[in-house]
């Protein structure tokens, strides 16, 4: 790469950062306003979800499951799944609802998806850290044994969610029927999300099947990162990577196609 194309890339990067920054502030003010805790609401929903479900499981199933404290098990499952469900739901019709921003040429349709995803991602991460600190304090959550693995699992999980958004957003513009199918589909995905189980609890033939799901691989990595030697985890980091690359490639092609015919009011 010669000098000029490098500096153009750098300039483009600066524009990108500026636009994402401005869009994020805009999105946060429109969604949460400036009243009471303001943008901190982004972590409240995953937090409530994880805590309440955790409490219910704790009351119905007792304090531990396969040597893991049950509240921690539920929390580690529910926060990633809320990330997935929220960012998918948020990317439906995202181009139409943000259409008026396309009046500014530096704003691209991918920025809309990216911004909403980043907001959900930050919300999920903040909720995760917050709840883990509190639970560690009450001795209900183990000290993560391999924080790198936990972060890697979270990243792979999140990247796959993002690449799904890249497909859902343009598809929802192409057909309004899709919008009706999104809630039920995210519900059906639940058993394949690794939320309720560890793969090691399953029979070997079921294991191989479950490990086809990128969510399960990500989830196993996160839990292994937390409990370490106390549990057995099965995962293959290439599964989420390959799935994300393929999905993102299809999604980007669809976005490009939809942008051509997008009509802005």
């Amino acid at each position: 790469m010669d000098r000029s194309s490098f500096s153009r890339l750098y300039e483009g990067w600066l524009v990108q950062v500026r636009v994402v920054h401005a869009l994020m502030i805009r999105e946060l003010t429109t969604r949460f306003g400036r009243e009471n805790i303001g943008f901190l609401w982004i972590m409240v929903e995953p937090l409530l979800f994880a805590i309440l479900v955790g409490v219910i499981w704790r009351l119905t199933k007792g304090p531990e499951e396969h040597g893991m404290t049950i509240i921690a098990f539920v929390v580690t499952g529910y926060i990633p799944i809320t990330l997935f469900r929220h960012c998918v739901a948020r990317s439906v019709a995202v181009f139409t609802s943000n259409g008026s921003l396309l009046y500014h040429r530096q704003v691209k349709i991918l920025d809309f998806i990216l911004v909403r995803f980043i907001i959900e991602l930050l919300g999920g991460m903040m909720a995760y850290v917050f709840i883990a600190i509190i639970l560690i304090f009450f001795n209900e959550f183990p000290m993560p044994s391999d924080i790198g693995l936990l972060i890697a699992g979270w990243c792979l999980y999140a990247i796959f969610c993002f690449s799904l958004c890249l497909i859902i957003a343009p598809l929802s513009e192409m057909s309004e029927v899709l919008e009706k199918f999104v809630p039920v589909t995210t519900y059906i995905v639940l058993p394949f999300s690794g939320l309720f189980y560890m793969v090691s609890w399953m029979k070997p033939e079921v294991r191989d099947f479950l490990l086809l799901s990128p969510f399960v691989n990500g989830m196993e990595m996160m839990r292994k990162g937390i409990w370490g030697n106390q549990i057995t985890a099965y995962y293959n980091i290439w599964n989420p990577i390959v799935c994300s690359v393929v999905t993102a490639a299809i999604g980007l092609a669809l976005c490009r196609r939809v942008r051509r015919n997008l009509s802005v009011e």
Binding site: A22, T30, S100, L102, N261, V264
Partner: protein, 215 residues
């Protein structure tokens, strides 16, 4: 310079295809003021959106070699649920300008006072027009795209707009979609008549106006 080469634009609704523009060619040099004339639905706004990059042409190519404003109209360019100030802040951020400078200009130009603290969706169309104008004039562009909007608002606003656009910025290029023959005759050096998807370029504004009035 802005060059539109062989622009076609069609809108699709299900299987229905509507051709709006058909093989339109247009060149805008620096400092030229061009009027777009045509009946309602002829494609003036569409052409302005294409030049502004809001929508993409179905085929053809648009090259911009000067900075082009976003299309100034009633809709677009700002967010209804945000306040006037928030919109100004947003514009300042994405165009990398100082917010205080933009805020001062917007306050002075719009004369909206306390209303700037209210969400834009509570504004009347005249107030929206003021805000839209103020925001785009706060950023300096080589070429302004103006879609009808110039005709709304009261006398005082008119005077301000004319002063800012046609006196202070008379060296800038401008593409103006308007039904007002006086405005076009007084300020434009060229006119393009859009009719049935084709655009005819006239160096003589009076001739263009005559053809337009006989459409």
């Amino acid at each position: 310079m802005i060059v539109c080469r062989n622009i076609c634009k069609a809108y699709f609704h299900g299987r229905v295809r509507k051709n709006v523009l058909n093989d339109v060619n247009l060149t805008v040099e620096r400092g030229q003021r061009i009027a777009l004339l045509g009946r309602n639905g002829a494609g003036k706004s569409t052409l302005i959106k294409l030049i502004g990059g809001v929508e993409m042409p179905t085929s053809g190519k648009i090259t911009r070699q000067m900075s082009v404003s976003w299309p100034l109209g009633f809709a677009g360019g700002f967010q209804g649920s945000l306040t006037g100030y928030d919109n100004a802040r947003f514009i300042a951020r994405i165009y990398q300008r100082g917010y205080s400078q933009i805020r001062d200009f917007v306050e002075e130009f719009t004369e909206l006072g306390q209303q700037l603290k209210m969400p834009v969706k509570t504004y009347s169309s005249g107030m929206r027009a003021r805000l839209a104008f103020a925001l785009s004039l706060a950023i300096e562009f080589d070429c302004y795209l103006i879609d009808e909007i110039i005709l709304v608002g009261d006398q005082n606003f008119h005077r301000k707009c004319y002063h800012e656009l046609f006196e202070k910025r008379k060296d800038r290029a401008m593409i103006l979609a308007s039904h007002s023959t006086e405005v076009v005759r007084e300020y434009c050096d060229r006119a393009v008549v859009i009719h049935q998807g084709t655009a005819k370029d006239f160096g003589d504004v009076n001739l263009a106006l005559e053809i337009y009035s006989n459409l």
